[in-house]
Amino acid sequence: MSALLEVSGVTKTFDGFRAIDDLSFSVNEPELRAIIGPNGAGKTTFMDLVTGKIRPDAGTICYGDLSRDLTKMSEAQIARAGIGRKFQKPTVFEDQTVEENLTMALAAPRAPFAVLFRRTDARVAARGAAARVGLEDRMQTPAGVLSHGQKQWLEIGMLLAQEPRLLLVDEPAAGMTSAERERTTEMLVEAAKTRAVVVIEHDMEFVRRLNCRVTVLHEGHALAEGSLDHVCADPRVIDVYLGRQEAADA
């Protein structure tokens, strides 16, 4: 096992507020990893940094066998290098059908002229991708009319269709029914067998079900790492969560 993603010494400041402070973090391939932490711990900012939406003030983010520096690549380049991202809110193209959504995500040349002139029939591949998330019978349905959970799955399906090596998933279980949660857990665990999956989650129950290594993020840096039980026993983690609890109660 070698590190697929190596984040070291990354700092990001917004108008004097240190959202990420000297963060170091690494994930292997394949691996399932959960990142937990209280509000404002910098979880989403961390994802923004890895996917190139924002640039760090300091530090390096190296990825892949060649240890390419992600901080010098555009979002699209990073995505093509094999990093997929699922947003907190389900973001699928609501005006387009499930098939169109998945076709866009399928691994294929992405340069404009290649897409325009080299037209291949991707319907079989799209159907295969839909089957993985249980949407094969909704191929011609506009994504906008899917239920909330189905949209989440469609998005996961799109991510898998991209065939990424690293999957970043932001609060996948939010707003799902318990049956949908179970299904989602299965999908993530299944995906993590062949690739690295990083799940950001609030819901401890869901994290426990993932049954994986956990990194606790607090005030922009990694506070503890290990199994869920291990980190929950860590006094600093207890302090952070309980301290907040007390402050909130007060």
Binding site: F14, D15, A19, T45
Partner: protein, 644 residues
């Protein structure tokens, strides 16, 4: 009774009724010289008249020089006379009161010749230079600087001592130097005067120094002792064609032959189907035609051409020099140095003037754009009809002026009324259209454009296509001028003040009031603001009322100096957008900075290329497009992680 009336009329119409006073008495002592003046004899008379110091004397001299004085043949008295058909209407030389009429044949008009008139004018200026009315003194100085003569140097100098008005005194002193420089004979005095001029900025100073530096072009060796300005280099100072023309003027080379002359000569010498042996059909290139012409002139059938090939040698043999008309090199050197100083000072003054212009333009842009900036910042929508609110304001001012004729009062009424009318229009637009297009900014842009088109056409239908006047009160007419170069019209100062007032008002509203707090909250994070119980609809409406109202006020201000037409708003809308975008959305000071940048830039480009305002706007827009590359969020960028 009727008899008495007739008698009174008879008395009035009789010149005898005129009383004699000191002026008439003095005139009578020189009666014959005045009636039939000659250049040789008139000077002592003028001196005597001038020495009298009578207050009515300048009027008389003026009228005399203007052929406005008649002499009554019967009694030899002088009157101001205006010819009306066959009679002269007479007025007293003492105080200008009507004293009756006289038949044209009973009086003779005084007709001083040109020489005498000049002497009279000189004597008159002497009077006017000491006139108690400052306007007349200024008028005298104007005429003197238009037409300076050495004769007037003495009276001018004499009048300086008693001058009390500082500005007029300055002008008198300047004029004294100016005349000294141009007509003086004493080198030291002239040099002193030139040095003095070096510290001035006036157009007159530059004119005086330039007058010293006039030159003539001389072909060949200049005469001994000539004050040479420079030897012209062909290619850098003048073109070879001009140089050859100069040589031709001296008869050194033949006159240039134009292409038309050449063709005429060729056509005149067509023999058979050929010219000088060349078939006409082959004369279809310029080279062929010149060759044929050379052949013609070789046989004497056409005048020769100047030897274009030998031009360099000819010019080397016949250098062309510029020689000063002024013979004294010390004077010209001093003048060149002084002129350089004056030019530098003028350039600085022009920069200051341009800065004032830029500030005033920036004020206009600020007023026009700030309403847009507020609504854009708070609601995130582009209101394409914003320019039409400016127009509505201007037309409100126009309508008020139709009802209230006093320009000051109508302005006092129009400003708040324009705010209310345009503000109401803004609220109507917000409630009827924009609110229903929430979160669809591009549709909002286009829908408001539809409103803009409709409003323009409606106003055109009501008020016509012709521009209507919005007249500023008299106290806003005119300009405040610091010197000959730096000046700014009062209207622009008023607009600057208006912009400053609205800036202060807006900063106060945004920083110190509840509404301002809510507006800032909605600008920064609409979702959070709504969850804190701030009604975004109410805030949106209030900002629209405020922003549109300010546009209305801006319309009145703009209407005072520009034309009020139904399309006037469209001319400001793109500039306003630029101002908002460059400044940074949602910030009053950003808009101020944007207006300053755009106003300054436009004036700066106009200064570099003064003949072309269109080009200035073109380049400015291109600059802005590039500027957005560097600072996509504007000068004063909104900060924070929620900014997308």
């Amino acid at each position: 009774m009727r008899f008495l009336l007739a008698l009174a009329v008879a008395l009035l119409t009789s010149p005898v009724a005129a009383q004699t006073g000191p002026v008439q008495a003095l005139l009578q002592t020189h009666a014959e010289d005045i009636a039939k003046p000659s250049r040789r004899t008139i000077q002592p008379v003028l001196d005597d008249l001038a020495a009298s110091d009578l207050p009515a004397m300048p009027d008389f001299l003026e009228a005399w020089a203007d052929k406005g004085v008649v002499r009554h043949d019967a009694d030899g008295l002088f009157f101001y006379g205006t010819r009306e058909g066959d009679i002269y209407a007479l007025r007293s030389v003492e105080d200008g009161t009507d004293v009756g009429e006289v038949a044209r044949r009973d009086a003779s008009e005084l007709k001083p010749n040109a020489g005498v008139r000049k002497l009279i004018a000189t004597a008159l200026v002497q009077f006017q230079l000491n006139d108690p009315d400052p306007d007349r003194r200024r008028a005298a100085l104007d005429s003197l600087s238009r037409n300076p003569t050495p004769d007037l140097l003495a009276p001018l100098r004499a009048s300086i001592e008693a001058e009390e008005d500082r500005l007029i005194r300055n002008r008198k002193e300047a004029l004294d130097r100016l005349i000294t420089i141009r007509f003086g004979t004493d080198q030291t005095a002239r040099l002193t005067a030139i040095d003095w001029m070096a510290d001035r900025i006036s157009l007159e100073a530059r004119a005086a120094l330039n007058a010293v530096l006039t030159t003539d072009r001389i072909v060949g060796t200049p005469p001994e002792g000539a004050n040479i300005a420079r030897t012209l280099q062909v290619g850098t100072d003048i073109t070879a064609e001009v140089a050859l023309d100069l040589l031709a003027d001296e008869g050194i080379v033949p006159d240039a032959v134009s292409r038309a002359d050449r063709d005429a000569a060729l056509v005149a010498n067509i023999a058979g189907a050929a010219v000088a042996g060349t078939p006409v059909a082959q004369l279809d290139t310029e080279e062929a035609r010149w060759t044929a012409y050379a052949a013609l002139s070789g046989t004497g059938l056409a005048p020769p051409r100047p030897p274009v090939d030998a031009a360099a040698i000819l010019l080397a043999m016949n250098p062309i020099t510029e020689v000063y008309d002024e013979a004294d090199p010390a004077i010209t050197e001093a003048a060149v140095a002084a002129l350089a100083q004056v030019d530098a000072r003028v350039a600085r003054a022009q920069a200051a003037d341009m800065t004032l212009d830029a500030v005033s333009l920036a004020s206009i842009y600020f007023l026009a754009a700030i309403g847009l900036a507020i609504t854009f910042g708070v609601m995130g929508v582009i209101n394409m009809a914003h320019g039409e609110f400016i127009m509505i304001g201007a037309y409100t001012g126009y309508v008020v002026q139709q009802i209230v004729p006093d320009y000051t009062w109508s302005l006092v009424i129009a400003l708040p009324l324009a705010f209310v009318v345009a503000g109401a229009a803004g609220v109507a637009l917000e409630r009827l259209v924009i609110r229903h297009l929430a979160h669809r900014p591009l549709e909002t842009l286009l829908a408001t454009f539809g409103i803009s088109v409709a409003l323009q056409q409606i106003f055109k239908n009501i008020f016509g296509t012709q521009a209507v006047p919005l007249t500023s009160p008299d106290w806003l007419a005119g300009a405040w001028s610091l010197n000959d170069v730096v000046g700014i019209s009062y209207i622009r100062i008023a607009i600057f003040v208006l912009a400053a007032v609205f800036l202060a008002l807006l900063v106060y509203i945004l920083r110190r009031t509840r509404l301002g707090l809510e507006v800032r909250a909605v600008t920064q994070n609409p979702g959070m603001a709504a969850s804190l119980g701030i009604d975004p609809d109410r805030v949106g409406m209030a900002t629209f009322a405020l922003g549109s109202g300010i546009a209305g006020v801006a319309g009145v201000a703009i209407g005072l100096f520009a034309q009020v037409t139904s399309e006037m708003g469209a001319g400001y809308i793109v500039q306003s957008f630029m101002t908002v975008v460059v400044g940074g959305v949602g910030s009053v000071f950003g808009t101020l900075a944007g207006a300053g940048l755009i106003g300054g830039l436009q004036k700066g480009i106009e200064w570099l290329n003064p003949s072309n305002t269109l080009a200035a706007q073109t380049y400015m827009i291109l600059f802005i497009i590039l500027f957005i590359q560097v600072r996509p969020r504007g000068i004063v960028a909104q900060k924070g992680r929620f900014v997308q």
